[in-house]
Subunit: 345 residues, 4 copies
């Protein structure tokens, strides 16, 4: 019963098999290999466009910070939700990679940025005020840190306003596949068609061993050279990149990433049902693979005593349970048994 | 016939097998897993000490820059050879990770720092001169960029002088195993016993898929917390770290890393014999897995036409050939055939 | 009628006279001059201690960022009020000087940090959580951005709690003299005796041409070398430093700085009386040289038409009026005339 | 007899008088004042163009680093002489302001870059080599650190080649006036007409209290906004900027800067004659206000005992003597007396 994080799950077997197949003879280093080349064609299919550039890393933190550093000069700021992963959980990576850029924090329910506050903020920016740190990028997280999904229409609304203020639009897609499954949107609809300039497409939480893709769409392609230079400079251009490319290829092959995300979402829905069936409320609507349940202390204790792993003290008072491609119905049944068992005396 | 780099080689099969075994069920993220814990014990054995801390990355550039950033404040400099990898091939990673520290370059034959120049440099440092950038670290590369090995005694001589000047001692050991095999030194003799404070132990070139270990010895352990914080901040704390730890474990198991390095060194010696046997001189004595041959243009052309991969225009006028764990006698025989074949007309 | 800022005022004549006297013959550069040496003795008197080190700059932004960069590693954060000058008006200087450190923002009335929120924040810091950016410094601004003063007791309460959490305590004293005058505290009481480790003592707003003093008290003296290195590196070690020292000396001579601040505070009190006498409310109690009046649009327009300079759109809806050493009773009388004049038709 | 540096000299009286005149009533802050506006017109005259932008600082280190940071991304490097002030004497300011950019050092006699080495270096740059740190800027120092002057033709030759390689051209003109006087070139000829994009025009060594001008010529004007943002962010936008502008205005008024530099150059020529007349050789031809004499130890000791101030251990074995606007014929006569006095017994 490990619901601590989708990063606690192993990789899907297909991923390791692909790495094994990639381990065949000599191969050019640093991304000049044949698998990386093949991956490009696959990404073009998946995103229904040739108008993109991309880079691979093994870390979501690195991907976010690299992506943002190409669009936010050190003298500017990045607008994001105050609970965004880049704010809460990346040890100031964005500040490091941007050379001292700043995150400017916005509120909103379910870790979704409140559109009106955002629009108001942009309306008050005075680019001639040299003492301030004007925004250069809007960063949306989809799924959000509360497991909520932005729809393509919502993203597009933000992106239009952002571009009116000359901001680039970044999406932190650590759980992008889960958001696609929930909304029914295609990768293209959720990214470049909605106005996203640069997407951090996470595959590690979805089922890879460690693989994230930074995608630059349309005019943002011009940042491809800078992205590679920054990747090299930050140690995110490992020599045997074939092993990253192989992971990405395996995940995209036959839509495996979406299949795995659909499973994780389904398990989360089932888990949510367990909680609500037992009379507990949820802090947030379940729109992906995360469940935030408002448990009582006894329930928390019972679960912990039965070795269920989850975050009991999530900010806001809920307990966080994350499902992954590897979550089984049996794990959920076990959790249910613990939850509904009569109190111990 | 791929002699372009030891990074072009695949991983040793044991490494991927170990990753497969590691892919078993849920596991704590970010280095709190059981394999990483087990690795610590193994490293203690290998380095004959418990007095160390360590961290894993997938990139040598990251490992060097992270290691150095814990010892060089932004206001200071790092002494290294002017051909060192950190100077030539890491896109300013050290400057980035240190927040604007500087590399101060020293000369020396075979990319080994000239001891007298080094001692003289230190002798001229005036720490009270606020306008300068005084050195805080000495970085030695072993093997050097010319494939030469420092002996433990040589390292110890540098380290003593460095410490007299309050410098920390870093070793870039991207090809550490090759240096051990050549010199016959033990890991302990070549590192902490010789005065090395922080070692970047590369395993990728030796045979891993992508795995480097930063080791902090003795008093340098105090930097362990900072190292983790900087690793997180730079995206070098991937969630599923078990896959890094599994690689390291496989490489160290039964001395595999040394066996593989011994093979690579032996192949290089054999390759050197092919060149000298054909009447070519070597730029540098072969002390590891790299051969720098002074070929004539015809020989270069012949080899290239027969699809031998190597760097024909290495700085200094030689051609660089690198052997790896995967280099075969057959490849060397093929190269020999091309080399001694009568000129084409 | 210029109430736009105390930085719009000229320098007090004594300051320029002192610069003129300093302009006499050759003098050692970079702070090794005789006037800087003399200043040290004067500061010891003013602060009633010899246990300090100091540096001079011509910019409050530089002084704050330099001071903070000696205490906040790039992996950490600085706690400050969300309206603090370092957050609102210094173009990310702190992020720049710290190498990507972060400001963590706290609420509170009148731009004074709410003690309970602060204590609660510290109570929730988990230093072992490598993903976060733990605080290393608390920065208090006195006067605050709303013109409010912390008393020595209040400062001491914050400092005690900060030190319990191993934070250094910084005070942004751009209007330190105004706070001293209002509270009746001595320089020592408001700084090191209350637990301040590093004080940015502003003299420019008080009456200098451009002169700020960074003071390191007690154990913080150990940062003196680093402070100088960072000052040099950031271009804040001008060769002819005698002109900075001369300004500081002139301001401290005979308590001129306090006399000038007392005048500015008195003018502000009188100005506040004008507003309240005319039936307007004040947004904040006047505790220094700033008045935040809640005017109606007609009053704002009338004043602007009469060429009164002030900030009409201060955040929160008030209009900000700043008095300086150069503000005259006549200016205030002029303003009063405009304000109480019957409406134009 | 103070020949230690032109920074040890006082400011010219006209400069302090101008500051006094500027100290008249309220004035807009941060460069929006009337004197700064007036200065722009004066600079247009002096440089015979309207096609420029500019900013003022009180520090040459700041001016160089700010100027360079607008043209060198953190992933790139700046070509300069290995004895350049930015390399030797600015505590890594360029690395700091660029966010970790690098200085790449070139040789050359008299601290003038060797053109052929430079051209060769550029010829070997491979912009597609992501592992290197390609140059983005060429920085020339005029006068050089050995007191030598580049002629406008020499500058133009460097600039043409630099631009062929897409490098921006920076001139560190800490002693620009001295170079103008020596070469007879006009400010325009030595800067934008020769291809200089950004000039750090030093006035402090020439006779100001502390005033340097960064000038952006032609297309480089596009960096004006970034320059201001970086100036603010680094604490180089002091509120009462009128005092910087007043200094610049006083120095340019009636060609005072050139008159003062001519005096300093003349004194240096006379001083050189003293040394050569006494049988000493000069390390470098005197082309400005600096004399590098190859003295014997006895002469050095005699001078020091007579309280002559100079650098006795200049790199390369010479003793450095710097003349300024304030150097008198009497000082030189005194030095001559000491130098030619019969040896003490």
């Amino acid at each position: 019963m490990n619901f601590s994080s989708d990063t606690a799950a192993p990789a899907h077997p297909s991923v390791l098999e692909a790495m094994g197949r990639a381990n065949d003879g000599a191969e050019a280093s640093y991304g000049a290999d044949r698998i990386t080349a093949r991956l490009r064609a696959r990404l073009a299919e998946v995103f229904e466009t040739d108008d993109f550039d991309f880079w691979l890393t093994a870390s979501g933190t690195a991907s976010n910070a690299l992506a943002l550093s190409c669009f936010c000069p050190p003298t500017h700021s990045i607008l994001c939700h105050h609970e965004a992963h880049i704010q809460m959980d990346e040890r100031g990576a964005v500040e490091f990679f941007t050379g001292g850029g700043r995150l400017a924090l916005l509120p909103g329910t379910g870790a979704k940025i409140d559109y009106d506050v955002f629009a108001d903020y942009l309306g008050n920016v005075d680019p001639s005020f040299v003492h301030g740190t004007p925004p250069a990028v809007l960063s949306l997280t989809n799924l959000t840190e509360c497991g909520m999904a932005y729809s393509p229409d919502e993203v597009a609304r933000f992106a239009r306003r952002a571009k009116g203020g000359k901001l680039a639009v970044h999406m932190d897609g650590a759980r992008f596949a889960n958001a696609l499954v929930h909304t029914g949107a295609s990768p293209a609809q959720m990214s470049w068609q909605a106005g996203v300039d640069v997407l951090t497409l996470g595959l590690t939480k979805t089922g890879a061993a460690g693989c994230e893709i930074i995608l630059l769409f349309g005019a943002a392609k011009a940042k491809g050279g800078e992205l590679r230079a920054r990747a090299k400079r930050s140690g995110h251009m490992p020599p045997k990149m074939r092993f990253l490319a192989a992971q990405a290829e395996a995940m995209l092959e036959g839509g495996l990433w979406l299949t795995l995300a659909a499973h994780a979402n389904a398990m989360a829905a089932r888990l949510a049902g367990v909680f609500t069936g037992a009379g507990y409320e949820l802090a947030w609507d379940v729109q992906g693979n995360e469940v935030f349940a408002l448990l009582d202390p006894r329930a928390v204790q019972d679960l912990q005593e039965d070795n269920a792993r989850f975050y009991a003290d999530w900010p806001g008072g809920s307990s966080r349970f994350v499902c992954s491609w590897a979550t089984t119905e049996a794990e959920i049944a076990d959790l249910k048994d613990t939850l509904v068992r009569p109190p111990r005396i």
